[in-house]
Amino acid sequence: MRRLLAVPYFIWMLVFVITPLLLMAGYSFLDFSGNITLNNYAEFFSGNYIKMTVSSFWYAFLITIFTLLVSYPLALAVRMTSNKTMWLLIIILPTWINLLLKTYAFIGIFGRNGVVNGIAGWLNIGGFQLLFSDAAFIIVSVYIFMPFMLLPVFNAIDDIDNNLLNAARDLGASRTEVLFKVIMPLSVEGVKTGVQVVFIPSLSLFMITRLITGNKVITLGTAIEQQFLTNENWGMGSTIGVFLILMMLIVMIFTGGSSKKRVNKI
């Protein structure tokens, strides 16, 4: 029965993940004319792409940290409200407006003659060059990913039994102690999921790197898109893709851990 239920899932896995993955791995050893080669890998290690990998990693790291810093207190705040589902929905709603459209709004907000500079001018604190800056990139990314972090984190925090927190308080723990010693350890699973769904896609962000940073930030995703669509060099595109997946595996190992044991202990 359990296996039967999982059959569609395994079909999905085989058709939509394994097959394209093998195709990609295969392509990474091909050059333009379809000959087998290791040149793509040689080129990957030749400088540009290593530099790009490092900077992608760095930006993804920053985006994840800031997203977590915003989302975690938010999840706590939502937990304290009386109608949690409604507040969650209200926070998720903006993600249903098309991303490109919101990005255009951000261009209008961050631009030289945009809203932020308008307010700054009104307050007499001079103009900002926000558009095309790293800061704008991180703000917009955090904006985009925040709901994706919030949901799993909230799910985990919401599961914590109120009695547990009350007990901790009764036993003399301060609010901060409850937060750090009880809530945080119990919500680790949710945070891990959140980190996965934010860090991994932010390695391959592409559209907003062009729109918001004017290509001053280039992620691995941008490079892959270029190789596939502009250069039509599927071999090189696949090679970068292979490295992207390797990096994802690294992230998975760090955030994987053995979760079941901990639950059993409780």
Binding site: K51, Y104, G111, R210, T213, K216, L229
Partner: protein, 356 residues
């Protein structure tokens, strides 16, 4: 439990009902089955003309759009949809001929092709005109804010390197355009395959990086309308769009030369309605129809007969309808083959990575 089942059931049923409704809506006026699949850039035809074409011929146009030549090629290569008329740019036409994706045109079935300006189409390689008819054309040039940079005249590409333009230039995200601009500024051809010259052009570009505000795509249009930067390297069509919105902006093509581009109409090999395709192309080549379309799209038309029907202001605008002398300095992009294109892109990537 109840929530789970109702969630799944409701959304499945609602989804299917919606899908059927949409289908019915679309088919309500499409019963005779004579359809034509047209694949074009977004916002690149007057939608009223599709209606008019239906009234005249009874052929219903199913209109799909793409946002880049390359993405379009991926789809056409796979042959999932049998498109009947596609509107690629000239260098993509060349590639499609090489890949044997399109058919040579039978000009006897396109009597209105006589309206096309020979002076311009004669600049297209013969093999391209054998397979395609130009739709709109233009150049690559400099869009600049007259009010802010009056002393800079941009008669040469080298003005872009002027120190006063620090953090003031937006550029289109295209390897051929940007490297071509640098090659032109050195007096070289923008189809250069000489590696040394390419490298010099790339090095010269890196000197330009302090002046670059950003390298963006189609968003340049809205950004320049907003005065986000004072100068931009753009296609003429885009410049026309911007200048209609922002009258501080002006456009010029430097004297060293630049690119001459075409978007053209082609018929793919797997078209299932070639008759309709010929009728559609011929329809768009009609002088009056082309004039209406040019009015709506706002790009420069190669259709001389249509141009004669337009305002003198439009016709005489040498910024967008260059005179012979300037036409001489313009060059079309040739398909340089995948290895060379890859080299261009690699150098372009280096340039992007030199921006901070």
């Amino acid at each position: 439990m109840k929530t789970f089942i109702s969630l799944i059931a409701v959304s499945l049923t609602a989804g299917i009902i919606l899908l059927v409704t949409a289908n019915l809506l679309e088919q309500s006026d499409n019963n005779d089955g004579n359809t034509l699949y047209v694949y074009n850039w977004g916002e690149y035809i007057d939608p009223g003309l599709l209606e008019k074409f239906y009234e005249e011929t009874g052929i219903r146009v199913v209109y799909e759009t793409f946002d880049s030549n390359e993405a379009m090629m991926v789809k056409v290569n796979q042959g999932g949809t049998p498109y009947d008329v596609i509107f690629p740019s000239e260098y993509t036409v060349e590639k499609m001929i090489k890949d044997q994706l399109i058919i040579p045109l039978d000009y006897s079935r396109l009597p209105n092709a006589k309206n096309i300006d020979n002076d311009i189409s004669s600049r297209m390689p013969e093999e391209i005109t054998a397979y395609s008819v130009p739709y709109f054309f233009g150049t690559v040039g400099i869009l600049y804010n007259e009010e802010i940079v009056p002393e800079l005249k941009f008669s040469t590409w080298n003005t872009l390197w002027d120190e006063s333009l620090e953090n003031e230039i937006l550029m289109v995200d295209g390897a051929r355009e940007v490297l071509g601009m640098s090659l032109n500024s050195m007096g070289e051809s923008l189809n250069t395959t000489d590696d040394e010259k390419l490298q010099t052009a790339a090095d010269k570009l890196i000197q330009l990086s302090p002046n670059i505000r950003g390298i963006v795509g189609d968003e340049i249009a809205s950004m320049m309308t907003e005065n986000e930067a004072q100068v931009a390297v753009v296609w003429s069509g885009m410049a026309q769009d911007i200048m209609r919105e922002n009258d501080e902006m002006n456009y010029t093509v430097p004297k060293e030369g630049s690119n001459l581009w075409f978007d053209a109409m082609v018929i793919p090999k797997n078209s299932e309605n070639t008759d309709g395709a010929y009728q559609f192309i011929n329809f768009l080549l009609d002088s009056e129809i082309a004039a209406v379309n040019t009015e709506w799209v706002g790009y420069a038309t190669p259709n001389t007969a249509a141009l004669e029907l337009m305002d003198e202001e439009v016709r005489k605008d040498t910024r967008f309808y260059p005179e012979d002398e300037q036409l001489e300095s313009l060059e079309m992009y040739r398909d340089l083959g995948p290895e060379m294109i890859s080299r261009y892109n690699e150098l372009f990537l280096q340039f992007k990575m030199s921006l901070d």
